[in-house]
Subunit: 538 residues, 2 copies
Amino acid sequence: MGENGLVRIVILGGGFAGISAAMELGRRTRRNRGIEVHLVSEENYFVFQPMLPEVVACRIEPTHILNPIRQLCKHVQFHCATVESIDTESREIRIVGRDKRRVQTLGYDHLVVALGLTMDLSRIPGMAEHSLPIKTLGDAFHLRNHVLSMLEEADIEPDECLRRQALTVVTVGGGFSGVETVAEINDMIKAVLRYYPKARATGARIVLIHSRDRILNELGEGLARFAEQKLRDRGVELILESRVKEASPTGIVLNDGRTIQAGTVICTVGNGPHPLIAKTGFPQERGRILADEHLRVGGVEGIWALGDAAMIPDVRRGGYCPPTAQYAMRQGKQCARNVLAAIAGKPTQPFAFGGLGQLAVVGHRCGVAHILGVNVAGLLAWWLWRSVYFMKLPGLRSKIRVGIDWALDMVFPRDITKLDVERTRRVPRAHFREGDMIIRRGEIGDRFYIMETGEAEVLQPDAAGEDRRVATLTAGDSFGEIALLNDTLRTASVRCLTPVDVISFARSDFQALVGSYDILRIKVSDDLARRTARDPDA
Amino acid sequence: MGENGLVRIVILGGGFAGISAAMELGRRTRRNRGIEVHLVSEENYFVFQPMLPEVVACRIEPTHILNPIRQLCKHVQFHCATVESIDTESREIRIVGRDKRRVQTLGYDHLVVALGLTMDLSRIPGMAEHSLPIKTLGDAFHLRNHVLSMLEEADIEPDECLRRQALTVVTVGGGFSGVETVAEINDMIKAVLRYYPKARATGARIVLIHSRDRILNELGEGLARFAEQKLRDRGVELILESRVKEASPTGIVLNDGRTIQAGTVICTVGNGPHPLIAKTGFPQERGRILADEHLRVGGVEGIWALGDAAMIPDVRRGGYCPPTAQYAMRQGKQCARNVLAAIAGKPTQPFAFGGLGQLAVVGHRCGVAHILGVNVAGLLAWWLWRSVYFMKLPGLRSKIRVGIDWALDMVFPRDITKLDVERTRRVPRAHFREGDMIIRRGEIGDRFYIMETGEAEVLQPDAAGEDRRVATLTAGDSFGEIALLNDTLRTASVRCLTPVDVISFARSDFQALVGSYDILRIKVSDDLARRTARDPDA
């Protein structure tokens, strides 16, 4: 029991599984004042992932497939934060907000883990740095703008060879996500090339690379071959039974040594486990939590797991449930019912769902589908795709907006606005007023500072717990290194005695620099040694 | 005359002035094969600036007020690039694309300069670093997300003092942009606070700071006082006759010493001249080009100037034309006609426009307007605002989308999706394949590299112009510094002999680091000295 005798349910993750659990729990507990439902997610919106390829292809506006979680999940307390750790002893989780400075704890009676998967591209050299994933809305947004940037570059590039490179798009992975992405991007580029006269003269090259001998492994061979033929008819180059060995800013190398010069490399493979799960003591297999068919994690009280982060026995078809949205949504609902049953001391029900089928769009008004045991291909499958996903899209506003986007798409040319929303200049400088705290003791260290002008004091608590000045910093001094190097919390505060200008570096930039530029590492270590001798460090 | 005896008109700038000139020229020359029209702009879209405050306030989706220039300006050749220089001797401009590596030249017979103004916040310490401008779509997008981030932070922040800071929004400048922004943000925060229960308990503080004794100086005193009262009624705190002395991450200091702790500081003042104009020999005053009433720049043949970048005599009302959209659009059309008249050897016409009036929205369905000599306030003025700007919004698709946004806004709650579209990890590392060129001779140096693994060769042309290896680079070597420090083009190429991993830093980060961290400067200089002795630098 939490504070005030309330039972507190905490859900981690804002994907299909987490959101449907939260919606169901909110609905069922709205009149129950004894139960509190909390949801923690890094983004404050739910993104309808099946439509991401259409966002990349400028058919749907990025914001239209989003739903604010606070508006979607009623009677649920929402925390826009990252989960740092799960403590099953004290039954608490630790979360940090966007500014990554202050840790907060949240107790739970029941914890629903729906953290999903993350991308792990570290196995292929260059892939993490130079390929573009399509998993989050940010990814889709970035990819859309990158493809349009390449068209703009190609249109002013005088070198034929570089122009051809800019106009080549390679997609890695022939699963549902890869096929739909390559089909949408191919349609899009073909549709908008007429606005880029020089690029049009060169022409675009769209390539799909897949490791097996046919794409869409989840569908039968007939549908897969149909899809392949449709893609080829529409100008997509298919490279099967090949893997990417290496990626660089100018393209990729395949395992047989072939190279493809490409301005855009899209990666749809490489799903890895959520890093937090490995740190917990939950029973797991390859980073995914093992749960029973009641979605309960064995051996740890009050823990439930579902969605892509979990391995749940498929009672209908054997094996484990596949990591798809239709399973995740139904698991969310079942989990909500089971958690409430457990609280009420009633028996829980097993999750029993056999799947309805699979759908993919493979190009202009053409799809493939295997639904309720029947194979469908062509216009009908495309129409089914649109109908099914339109129905599943949560929120009336999203439905109206996507519907209008689809209607406008039939009448108007594509929207080729290339949105560079990064701020014009990212000054690594900061200015602080007299009295401002630059860093505070106990916060997470995520930046390192060099003083340019002004004077500041380093504060640490004395025996009585009062803050005392232990050192003074002036121009040229640096501070904040230890927390960065050692990954701990700030051990002292720094307060400005005058207006202060600093240059500040983020943890990641700093680590890259220190990790590689030996002389700087030595210099920083010297600094630390000197400062530690002179005064307790900040 | 350009190549092939064509007359080439080049327009610089994609704001109201540049776009309306390009649209008019495109229309009038569509059947004239002797004239070529080119437009250069940094963004590939035209943004309808009057609606930016509504974008910030989540009433209109960001993409809806954009129009792709390639679709808007027909029969015009578009270059998505930054103008580096204007050479009036050779009648050429130099442009660089987004990747900032390759310079291209574009000759002209007539040059239409419509570069607008830029933000210059350097006079107030901390303002450039810590205040958010609202000038471009990127700014509006960033501001919207920042305000929503602050709400999310406030809702999980246990410290009352920090929560109040996160919920304080300060807007600097009481002109049209500042008033409309503060009114929209105030409405928005009041409307969405109910989704943030903890933040709601604390309440938001919305402040407008203006240097004069009344806001909206361009309108009469009666309308200004009405607007002030309306803002106060809706809970906005007005601080008049005050200036900001200093800004920091935690808020601002006023010239009378008062401080306001604020999580968001919006700056709507500080327009400065476009930096390129100072470098040209054009007659100018405080960075703006002096043109005559025919929009022609005296003393330089074939140069025309208009929009905010120009000072043009106002033949109707005396003085100079004000920097507003209604003047800029009409100047664009007049300029197009005059350029074509000059080409045809016909007389040009002076720009004669007296302005139609001014409109501002000051809160929920309430506006102030001075139109055709009549003062209007309240609902009617708000309705006029919507009608006028809706009519002026270019493109039917934008009209449909904005109309639908306005309709949805009356039925649905605000869309509070906080879009973090920055990519998850910005690895400063890069991987190159064997044979890849990391840098190319003649490109603009915008990055500096440290080799982590692999081997690369430095290539320079010999007497016969053939590329020859002049040095080999291995792990730990760095290259690319000279172009960064001296702001020149790359003097050598670097090609990979094996797969290579590098860490790379952008020019701006590098300059900040070298400019401040003395020891690193020494180290880099040593490196340079050694490398220059050992081999010609890359």
